[in-house]
Symmetry: C2
Subunit: 335 residues, 2 copies
């Protein structure tokens, strides 16, 4: 026997219309009624039936968030930011983690469309543009997260990865490093190529000559980092780079593990190391890791705010929001 607005109305001695008004526009109701209704709600433990509300008023109180790697702390932080903003608007988040699997991506998009979410945030992996256009034609506002896409016609919130790459390599150069290796891949991930582009720009603009080599990986995981580190160390010592820039902190943690285990390499004395994302575990590594911080919570917050605005105003024009990255210096580059 769930309690309906009718029960509340009876208890408060008013009509259902008045109860609804108390809930939605309390200023148009006498304070006497407001009080009686509020009390009745309290006593009965009434909660609005969102399904009925959604059906009649056509407003949804959920926003979908599809994330491509739920295990990566960076995305957890982004979600956390979105949550903060959402809960202050009384909005709940439907969460879907695709683990870089395009078929899961599709499943979630269908599911969320059935739910008629108010809006959709997505950190896309595969080619979801077709799906997303269907969303838009259903009138569901959509914002891309962590992916800049001027051409797609969707709003986006991301960080300037090129600037981030530049920051990282400039920092290494300032620290006196001259032989730098970029470790990352695969190269069909936009963020990877952007970060590398930034690194290249920094190397070319430097006042001194910089050697920049690329050490490709097949994924951005700790394991791949370990493997890449081991490969580097098979070289004769004088061919080692004197600094590594990893495309994200998971890779960097793996590299670090390879380098320091068994006391083989002194970090940063022999090789400096910088990552990307400022993963909370990176600060806690054996040698605390320098990194490029993305304002992850802010990204989530902003994305949610934009999606709500676009949901409210269907005429709104897609906009690209780009945040600047921030250099975080720790021991791994400041020997």
């Amino acid at each position: 026997m769930p309690i309906s607005i009718r029960d509340v109305a009876v208890r408060a001695g008013v009509s259902v219309g008045t109860v609804s008004n108390v809930l939605n526009r309390p200023d148009e109701v006498s304070s006497d009624s407001v009080e009686r209704v509020t009390q009745a709600i309290e006593e009965l433990g009434y909660v609005r039936n969102d399904a009925a509300r959604k059906l009649r008023a056509g407003v949804s109180t959920t926003v979908g968030f599809v994330v491509l790697d739920g295990q990566n702390p960076f995305y957890n932080d982004v979600v956390r930011g979105a949550e903060d903003e959402a809960s202050s608007h009384g909005i709940a988040i439907l969460y879907g983690n695709t683990d870089e699997d395009p078929s899961r991506e599709k499943v979630y998009l269908d599911l969320f469309r059935e739910q008629q979410v108010r809006g959709l945030l997505i950190a896309p992996y595969g080619d979801v543009m077709t799906q997303l256009r269907r969303f838009r034609s259903s009138g569901i506002a959509t914002v891309l997260v962590d992916r800049f896409s001027a051409d797609s016609g969707f709003s986006s919130v991301s960080v300037d990865s090129v600037a981030g790459g530049r920051l990282a390599v400039e920092h290494l150069i300032e620290g006196g490093r001259r032989r730098i290796a970029f470790v990352g891949g695969p190269f069909d991930i936009r963020q990877v190529t952007d970060r590398l582009a930034g690194a290249r720009a920094a190397a070319e603009n430097a006042a001194v000559h910089i050697e920049l080599e690329v050490v490709p990986t097949s994924a951005m995981t700790v394991e791949e980092g370990v493997a890449a580190g081991a490969r580097l160390l098979t070289r004769p010592r004088r061919e080692w780079p004197d600094a590594l820039f990893a495309a994200n902190d998971l890779l960097a943690l793996g590299l670090l593990q390879s380098l320091v285990s068994g006391g083989r390499v002194l970090v940063p004395d022999e090789i400096a190391l910088i990552g990307f994302d400022d993963n909370p575990f990176a600060a806690a590594a054996a040698v605390p890791l320098s990194s490029i911080r993305q304002p992850s919570r802010m990204i989530g917050r902003t994305a949610l705010r934009i999606v709500l605005e676009e949901a409210a105003d269907p005429e709104s024009i897609p906009r690209q929001t780009v945040f600047p990255p921030e250099l975080i210096v720790r021991r791994s580059t400041s020997g």
Copy 2:
């Protein structure tokens, strides 16, 4: 102009009742009708309006999951397991991270009750029993995750923390350690006291004399681990314990950082270290961390399965599912 079941009915030349039957019990409809309706749905790009469905049929296609620490990889894994199970049932997950804040916990519970979720999974922090009982009286199935609670009248899925504590300390003793410190806190978290109880049991049952001291912390974070490690190291060397058992891997990572930074202590030679949770970053630490693994995905999967079963059968009796923990040995204890 969203497309409704009525549009589909017109297009297919049948009644709305038949369309609904095609959607929900296709075996009671002639194959001819099924085909015509299916095609009409396809052509019109119709998707069910879940709000109307929920309102009338009272069935919900979402399950709420309230997590107490969204930053902890352990919970991310649990959520991932729940997701897997959920999406195979066409169910979406409403996600709420409380960050150990009881007021956020309350907000989410209200929000999810408004949404009339099919069921609720919760890794509770504060005292939510009152709230939860209200859930149950609304007929919403509820399962506690990562918290055993025979008395509460709710089902639960968790790991035997006492056994885990025992495993950890037995392993340390077998490795020849005799002066063991348990690092953890606060002690109003059930998992902490359970893990300590297991540690105590192992120490008491050992064939040799074991000194077990308790080093309390005010939270289970990396920072607290670092602080606890620093405190330990202020003692004269001969008063150091020869092994540490941290109540979770975040603490252990912090301890490790304190111990090894600057080459102060050899791990495991001088002090062995074991954690709990088998956090993926623990395997990648400077000294790979031994730990007690919880079958986190399995926990999530199972919890979701149970909550769906209970939602389907309101007469069902609450049951406690307890998984065994598993010892994972890495370098930090096997010098």
